[in-house]
């Protein structure tokens, strides 16, 4: 055991002194850190500005009101989903947002606005939200009205207006919320009609919602005037215009239904991914380590003091520890990121652990992880022992990597769709894939019987693999010349080698 640990410690220290290890170790934390910083400081500004000239004096106010109603409607819909998700209906049971999913009419939205709109509603429920719930994030409108820049002529017709405004459409314009790109300019002539249409100019990237809202509101006002002229009372017109199909769109609340299947699989699938990355990373390190010892011709010196089996176990432990270090840092970085982003723990982490509600399941996950590491690492060790150089190793490695990763990647996609579908279940009973498939399915809940069955089969497979590939490894260490043929491999695995 002493020599096993000495070999393991040397492998660990040796790999930990390489630049590649530190790059590997820090890549995820750095990416997470950069993405968080970038998210905070370099978030693109979606808000754009618009200007409006209403020479007719009939539409400007209506358009402003429509924009506000439509913005608050979108927020109201999102806010009512938030209230439902966190069970906050009792904060104000008679509020429009406490009624669940629905289409909110203009009247309902107007009342919502009268009550203070989304800002007031969000403030109202904030003290009552459970600790794990993130505060409701109010999205501001992605457009803001700007005043007509000084010097732009507005009373000499649309062409003069366009001429004066042209430079601003290529640049930013001052608004009450700072400078914003001017994406839309609207000119409504006094005698608006087929001969004198509403004119709009954009900067090439207009806010389509804004354009639609403006067009629809002008149309609506025009129709209202026409109907009023034909004798319809304004109240009747408003009632008809606000009429919409009595439709309720129902979807599972956030974190439930289809979403729940995906969320529950997040952590198990992350485990599968980490297992795959860990074994591939440490496996290639193991491969290089064995090839270096073989090509540097230092194995004989070592084998005079260390039994080949101890050398093998030492490598497995040392590089396993390297894998665990990488894993620990990555998981730590991911947990740190999850905790720092409010709501992730509650929305994703906790639901994904919901199905893993028994202590034995954690033990099973650890077992599958370790078994997966051993299965793949042994393959890498054996390939390393058979190869005289990294070029040699590539020819063995490529098919092995394909055979392992392709089904695992398909399986991960399949589990996200249907955790207990036929493909993941079949893979659960093929030892090479058992650790991956069972880890992935844990989120959806697997029976103790299935865990026991696949676990027993996997344990037997690992033992047999360690014996057979262990013999191949030991018999290949001092081999010289070209790698043996298939019959040679089999002979070595079954102890029929002459060394």
């Amino acid at each position: 055991m002493r020599n096993i640990l000495l070999v393991a410690a040397r492998e660990y220290k040796y790999i930990a002194s390489t630049r590649g290890f530190w790059v590997m170790l820090l890549v995820l934390p750095v990416v997470i850190g950069i993405s968080q910083v970038a998210g905070r400081f370099f978030r693109p500004t979606l808000e754009s500005a618009y200007v409006i000239v209403d020479a007719s004096g009939q539409y400007e106010q209506a358009i402003e009101k429509r924009l506000e109603i439509n913005y608050q409607r979108v927020e109201l819909s999102a806010f009512s989903g938030y209230v439902q998700r966190w069970g906050l209906e009792d904060v104000k049971p008679d509020a429009v947002w406490a009624k669940g999913d629905r289409w909110f009419s203009d009247d309902q939205v107007a009342k919502f606005i009268a009550d203070g709109g989304i800002e007031a509603a969000a403030e109202l429920v904030k003290p009552h939200a459970p600790p794990e719930a993130p505060a409701y994030a109010v999205d501001k409108p992605n457009y803001v009205r700007a005043a007509i820049p000084p010097g732009v002529e507005t009373s000499a017709g649309p062409d003069r207006f366009a001429e004066g405004l042209a430079p601003f459409l290529l640049d930013q314009i001052e608004t009450t919320q700072g400078k914003r790109p001017l994406s839309l300019a609207i000119y409504i002539p006094a005698d608006m009609g087929p001969a004198s249409p509403v004119r709009m100019w954009t900067n090439g990237a207009p806010n389509t919602t804004l354009v639609d809202n403006v067009r629809n509101e002008i149309t609506r006002v025009m129709r209202g005037k026409a109907l009023e002229a034909s004798g319809l009372a304004p109240e009747q017109f408003t009632a008809i215009a606000d009429m919409s199909a009595p439709l309720t769109l129902s979807a599972p609340p956030q974190g439930a239904g289809r979403e729940q299947v995906v969320i529950r699989s997040v952590l198990p699938l992350a485990m599968v991914y980490l297992l795959l990355v860990t074994v591939m990373t440490t496996g290639s390190m193991m491969l290089q380590s064995v090839i270096e010892e073989r090509s540097n011709k230092l194995l004989e010196s070592i084998l005079a003091a260390v039994h080949p089996a101890d050398l093998m176990y030492g490598k497995l432990i040392g590089l396993g520890a390297i894998g665990l270090t990488i894993l620990g840092v990555w998981v730590g970085a991911a947990v740190g990121a999850a905790v720092s982003v409010q709501g992730v723990v509650a929305d994703i982490v906790k639901p994904s652990l919901a199905a893993i509600d028994q202590p034995w399941m954690y033990a099973a996950m650890l077992f599958y992880f370790v078994a997966g590491y051993l299965i793949i690492s042994m393959l890498y060790l054996a390939i390393g022992a058979l190869s005289n150089s990294l070029q040699d190793a590539q020819s063995y490695l490529m098919p092995v990597i394909m055979i392992i990763t392709l089904p695992v990647v398909f399986m991960m996609v399949s589990v996200a769709q249907q955790p207990n579908g036929i493909f993941p279940v079949i893979l659960s009973w093929i030892p090479l894939y058992t650790p991956f498939a069972m880890l992935a399915r844990m989120g959806a809940g697997v029976s103790l019987l299935e865990v026991a069955g696949t676990g027993a089969m996997l344990a037997a497979f690992v033992v047999i693999e360690m014996i057979l590939l262990g013999r191949l490894f030991q018999a290949s260490l001092l081999r010289t010349g070209q790698p043996p043929k298939l019959s040679g491999f089999v002979a070595m695995m079954f102890g029929k080698t002459t060394t």
């Binding site: 002493r2 270096e292 540097n296 010196s301 084998l303 005079a304 002459t498």
Partner: protein, 305 residues
Amino acid sequence: MAILKLDHVVKRFGDFTAVNDLSFDVPEGGIFGFLGGNGAGKTTSLRMALDIIRPTSGAIEILGRKPGRENAAEIGFLPEERGLYRRMSVLDTIVYFGRLKGMEQAEAKKSAERLIERFGLGEWTKSMIEKLSKGMSQKVQVASAMVNAPRLLILDEPFSGLDPVNQQVLEDIVVEMAKAGSTVIFSTHIMQQAERLTNRIVLLSRGRKVFEGTQDEARATLPGRLRLESQADPAGLPGVSSATRAGAADGWTTWEVALKAGSTPGDLLQACTSQGFALRNFESQRPSLHDVFIHLVGGEQETAK
């Protein structure tokens, strides 16, 4: 007591017999030469003694025990094919091998530092192996083999790849180790080095032992040779196998004389004196190990051909 004993050891690799019924003893103390040409079975035999590979049949005893890693603490081994971890420091490398041989960290470090100084590598203590020259790397390998002050030091072709200066350094170390009480076994196919260093030798050819004993005993296997100057032909003298004319001057002829087996130059000189055979010069020629090797192994190799 024999520090290494092979008893009818056979090692086959498939159809190829690398070592064939090999038996010999290495007594404790001194320097033992394990000689033979390429492919004679020297490395295979040493690997079996170290339990790196197992014999097909026969028995091996090393340090009075069966071969195994439990003997590593008392053995130093320098293989023919040598290498080191390129990105390990000189000190760490030697300490690592010491630790693998059962030494404690502090003890291994102390011994390593002493050897580093002894080999003139002091300023390279913390340098990576990849920064060293080949000669310096080989010194590190030798130090790694010696770090545990082994009772038995096994050197497989230790001089191959070394320049003359470093060969001399290694020769000095081998002699020093032997004087300090270690038994040194070294395999080589360079007979001059064996001749300078060894007390006893085993000579292998094609996996078989063809000789075991002292250097003098080895030379005795060759017919005696000498050079003399006489006026008459020495061919008729007792004990002379053949006499070949090698030159003549002033009425004296130089002869290369081969003696019959069992006959010594002293016997011939006595016969000359008693028979009144006139001599102007008489040079006894001592056969070298190279001659012995050619004599014993050359025939085997011819037979093999």
